[in-house]
């Protein structure tokens, strides 16, 4: 507006647009900036945790020493400087894996290459020095010899564990199942005993060796070797080594189960549970959604009632997901599940089989939740198909069923696919209804295994979204759970972004195709 009043020599179009133009432009950039900030935060925290960063040896003014990874810095509450948080590990020695240190109290920070980081099955990591390795037989090794022996032994250990797991899955479990099914048979019992003896032998060959460790503050610790998962000396690693180690950690995060109260290692069961639940859901929701859309668009009389129903269905997409969860709990779990228990699983009552949350009820609830999405998307696709296509088919003598199945539905295929992908994307991110109908904090048994009937619909399952909530809000040590929660959040967001991008791409493709279709 200012530009309008500014009179220069000749009359000219206003160049300025006044203050509001800039404020509105700013709101776009601010939204985009916030989105970038959120994604950047997730990516850096989620992936950064797996990087084997340098371990600092901190010497304080009073002579005390500690070793750990730097986490963050913040101002002291009284404003007299900054303090720094170190992750020092050694929960079994110190009872705590964190240490706040005021910057003013630090005399020296160094990164000696011999500092050792051990990942263990129990407790948290150990950070300190390796004094000696005591094998079951043979001389005690010290210094560099101990370190090279340790890396060799860990590789053997890994191979041994792999062999045990293989033996258990390939040989022992099928045998046990056969025994359960067919009753006693001398041959199977003998094979089982042999396999178990082999496992015991393997296990005996693994353990035995012990490590003598020393923390930087001088405490000694004897650690048996079979507790140890990985050993690293991050300060002595080159950039490439670190990259390899990082890749390995990321892979372990994706492929293994959680350890130590859901705060370490992987989220594989959660990934598996999410995928399985979403697959079951889409198997249910797609046919029913398409059916309802075809009915609304092709069969029903297009009157006032149909229009009302259409608006109603569309608005159900805006109903809070928690309401669907309530419905699932009340109708599926307590209603149908309770009835099923009374009829078929009376033997195990009062402990419920289907009368409690489980995979089946969760998938059905989410199917109901995403039904409007599929219906709306499919209807859009159906409405885009020009009428002359239908009329042409009918005029050539096709019945309505033939017209639908040969002409209309094939043309609406991309729309149905879009609807299904959008439904999957929505379902993958929903957590609130799952909290009511069957998600579990830690499900030891995956719902899909080799036991008849292979797919256990009544079991509870783990879910990526709930894993974030649980790790971040229900753990004992939120700080320790944060990296895993960030990693899981990043994974979930990536999955959903990929799904949505696919849907957007499909819809674009669909539009351009039907754009050309209706033009001639």
């Amino acid at each position: 507006m200012r530009g309008w009043h500014r009179k220069t020599g000749r009359a000219r179009l206003p160049r300025g647009e006044g203050p509001w133009a800039w404020l509105s432009a700013g709101s776009v950039s601010l939204s985009l900036l916030l989105l970038a900030l959120l994604l950047g935060l997730l990516a850096s925290r989620g992936l950064g945790h797996f990087w084997p960063g340098d371990v600092a040896l901190v010497t304080l003014q009073d002579g005390r020493q500690l070793a750990g990874r730097e986490v963050r810095e913040q101002p002291l509450p009284d404003g007299s400087g900054h303090e720094r948080l170190y992750r020092t590990g050694n929960r079994d020695l110190d009872g705590e894996i964190w240490d706040w240190v005021a910057l003013a109290a630090i005399r020296e920070v160094s990164h000696p290459p011999e500092l050792l980081v051990l990942e263990r099955r129990r407790w948290s990591e150990f950070i300190g020095r390796l004094v000696a390795l005591e094998p079951e037989a043979g001389p005690r090794l010290e210094g560099e010899a101990a370190w090279s022996a340790l890396t060799d032994r860990l590789a053997e250990l890994e191979a041994g564990r792999e062999a045990i797991r293989e033996l258990r899955e390939r040989t022992i479990l099928p045998l046990v199942r056969r025994l359960e099914r067919e009753g006693k048979s001398a041959e199977a019992t003998r094979a089982l005993a042999a396999a178990e003896a082999r496992v015991a032998e393997l296990r005996a060959s693994l353990g035995g060796a012990r490590l003598v460790l020393e923390s930087v503050s001088g405490e000694r610790l004897i650690q048996s070797l079979d507790e140890i998962v990985r050993a690293r000396r991050p300060n002595a690693m080159s950039g490439l080594d670190k990259l390899v180690a990082w890749g390995e950690r990321v892979w372990r995060f994706l492929s293994e189960g959680p350890r130590v109260g859901n705060v370490e290692d992987g989220v594989w069961p959660a990934i598996f549970g999410t995928i399985l639940m979403v697959l079951l859901m889409s198997v249910v929701v797609t046919p029913f959604g398409v059916l309802a859309a075809v009915y609304l668009n092709e069969v029903a009389h297009q009157g006032r009632l149909t229009r009302l129903v259409r608006i109603g269905v569309r608005n159900l997409a805006g109903v809070p997901s928690i309401v669907y969860g309530v419905f699932g709990l009340g109708v599926f779990v307590y209603g149908i599940g309770g009835r099923l228990d009374q009829w078929f699983f009376e033997a195990s009552l009062p402990s419920p089989t289907f009368g409690t949350g489980g995979l089946l009820w969760a998938s059905l609830t989410l199917a109901l939740l995403t039904l409007p999405v599929v219906i709306v998307a499919t209807e859009e696709g159906l409405a885009r198909i020009p009428h002359r296509q239908r009329e042409g088919a009918l005029a050539l003598g096709a019945t309505r069923l033939e017209m639908l199945s040969r002409v209309v539905l094939p043309m609406a295929m991309p729309a149905m696919l879009t609807g299904m992908i959008l439904a999957v994307a929505r379902a993958a991110g929903e957590v609130a209804p799952l909290m009511l109908v069957g998600v579990a904090k830690l499900a030891p048994q995956v719902p899909l295994d080799g036991d008849f009937p292979y797919l256990h619909l009544e079991r509870k399952f783990m879910h990526l979204g709930y894993h974030i909530f649980d790790a971040a809000f229900h753990g004992n040590d939120v700080q320790a759970a944060l990296p895993i929660a960030y990693g899981t959040a990043l994974l979930l967001v990536l999955v959903i972004l990929v799904l949505n991008l696919t849907a957007i791409f499909l819809r674009h493709h669909l539009r351009s195709r039907h754009g050309t279709l209706s033009s001639y």
Binding site: W4, S27, S29, V299, V323, F327, L368, L371, P372, L492
Partner: protein
């Protein structure tokens, strides 16, 4: 014969589709029926339940307090029994929704106006899918970041947040002023149509300035500690997870849906109207304010309503970012507990058929009714709007 078979198959299929379609739609609609059926016994109990219905919305006598108060304490350890009073939950729900709209509406409407008026066509075609992706971000992730990254950050950087609040608009206006002083060649290199992108570094710069200014502002005006000043001078408690955090997180979550609908409404205004106004000498902003906005106001309103519906029912963000304390204070820096969060926390433990269970179902029914009504209203408004556009602009 073959003809008869085809006809018969066709009739059968039609019947099946009809039955299936009606069945699916009935199942979806069954949600409302289920909720109503389960809630009714609360008001007409078969046997006395021991709670008075007035107690649900009137203040109750609370052990240890002089005056009656609103309390939601479903599982109380001592012998005074549970206290069921819905107003704190309703209040929490509305407060969270209101704060998220306070954050989201200016951002979303500003963005919609900018992209309908000034933005270059290419950027606009890219912006829409980006914001659609933003809408798809799961609530649990946003809630997690809000509860565990934003909340502790804001607690330590209150001064910076205040400085940002002051500096962001001023910085943008300054950017506009500076832009007008640029030589025409540079202005062409930095067109207004792409301002959304090239303003980003400028905003980061503003951020840096706020970082510098924040602590100084705090020392200058608030004696060095804004939080202590709030508590002492204004008497406002500061809870770590509070209504403002919820508002920011949920505002972020509802911006895309409001933006998409408002932008639809604005860019749907017949071109003839806007072109006429501009031909008469109005600036683009004047066109928006005097011509397009009055024409599109129902659409914009319906966009805000959809946003409100989403904010009221959002569960995970409130659950993770609000502290879940059932308080009834107008203090935006205190915690809150919404109906949706209450349902998510308490329903798995409530005994089916009990008073607590039915009350939570009542809350679910309220949520359902509210969102359904709001969405229907918004839909009706939008349909009317499209009819009006057709009348105004003719076939465009």
């Amino acid at each position: 014969m073959r003809q008869r078979l085809r006809q018969g198959r066709d009739r059968l299929a039609t019947a099946l589709i009809t039955a299936g379609g009606i069945g699916v739609i009935a199942a979806v609609m069954g949600i409302a029926v289920f909720l109503v059926v389960e809630v009714v016994p609360l008001f007409w109990p078969a046997e006395p339940t021991g709670i008075r219905l007035e107690a649900l919305w009137l203040p109750q006598d609370v052990a240890g307090l002089d005056a009656p108060a609103y309390r939601w304490q479903p599982s109380l350890a001592d012998d005074s029994g549970p206290l069921f009073s819905l107003p704190p939950l309703v209040w929490g729900t509305l407060e969270a929704a209101a704060w998220s709209l306070v954050i989201a509406v200016p951002l979303a409407l500003g963005a919609a106006a900018h992209s309908a008026l000034f933005m270059s066509r290419r950027l606009r075609a890219r912006l829409r899918p980006t914001l659609e992706l933003m809408e798809a971000l799961p609530g649990v992730v946003i809630g997690f970041v809000a509860g565990l990254a934003l909340a502790p950050w804001l607690e330590r950087h209150l001064g910076l947040a205040l400085a940002l609040l002051l500096l962001l608009p001023t910085g943008l206006l300054l950017a506009g002023g500076l832009w007008r002083q640029l030589p025409a060649r540079l202005q062409r290199r930095l067109p207004l149509g792409w301002a959304a992108l090239w303003l980003m570094p400028w905003l980061v710069l503003t951020w840096g300035l706020a970082h510098w200014l924040g602590p100084r502002l705090e020392t200058l005006w608030f004696g060095g500690d804004l939080r202590a000043w709030l508590e002492v001078t204004l008497g406002l408690d500061y809870a770590n997870r509070n209504a403002v955090i919820v508002g920011m997180a949920m505002g972020f979550a509802v911006v895309p849906s409001i933006y998409a609908l408002a932008e639809d409404a604005l860019s749907g205004v017949p071109r003839s109207l806007a072109e006429g106004a501009q031909a008469l000498g109005a600036t683009r902003w004047q066109t928006l304010w005097r011509v397009m906005l009055p024409a599109a106001s129902p659409g914009v309103l319906s966009a805000v309503m959809i946003g409100a519906g989403r904010a009221v029912g959002e569960t995970m963000i409130v659950l993770m970012a609000s502290g879940n304390t059932a308080l009834m204070t107008a203090n935006p820096l205190d915690g809150l507990r919404s109906m949706a969060a209450s349902i998510a926390i308490e329903l798995p433990e409530a005994a089916p058929g009990g008073t607590h269970y039915r009350l939570l179902l009542l809350a679910a029914l309220l949520l359902f009714a509210f969102t359904f009504l709001v969405n229907t209203l918004a839909e009706v408004v939008r349909t009317r709007l499209h009819r009006r556009y057709r009348r105004l602009g003719g076939p465009s």
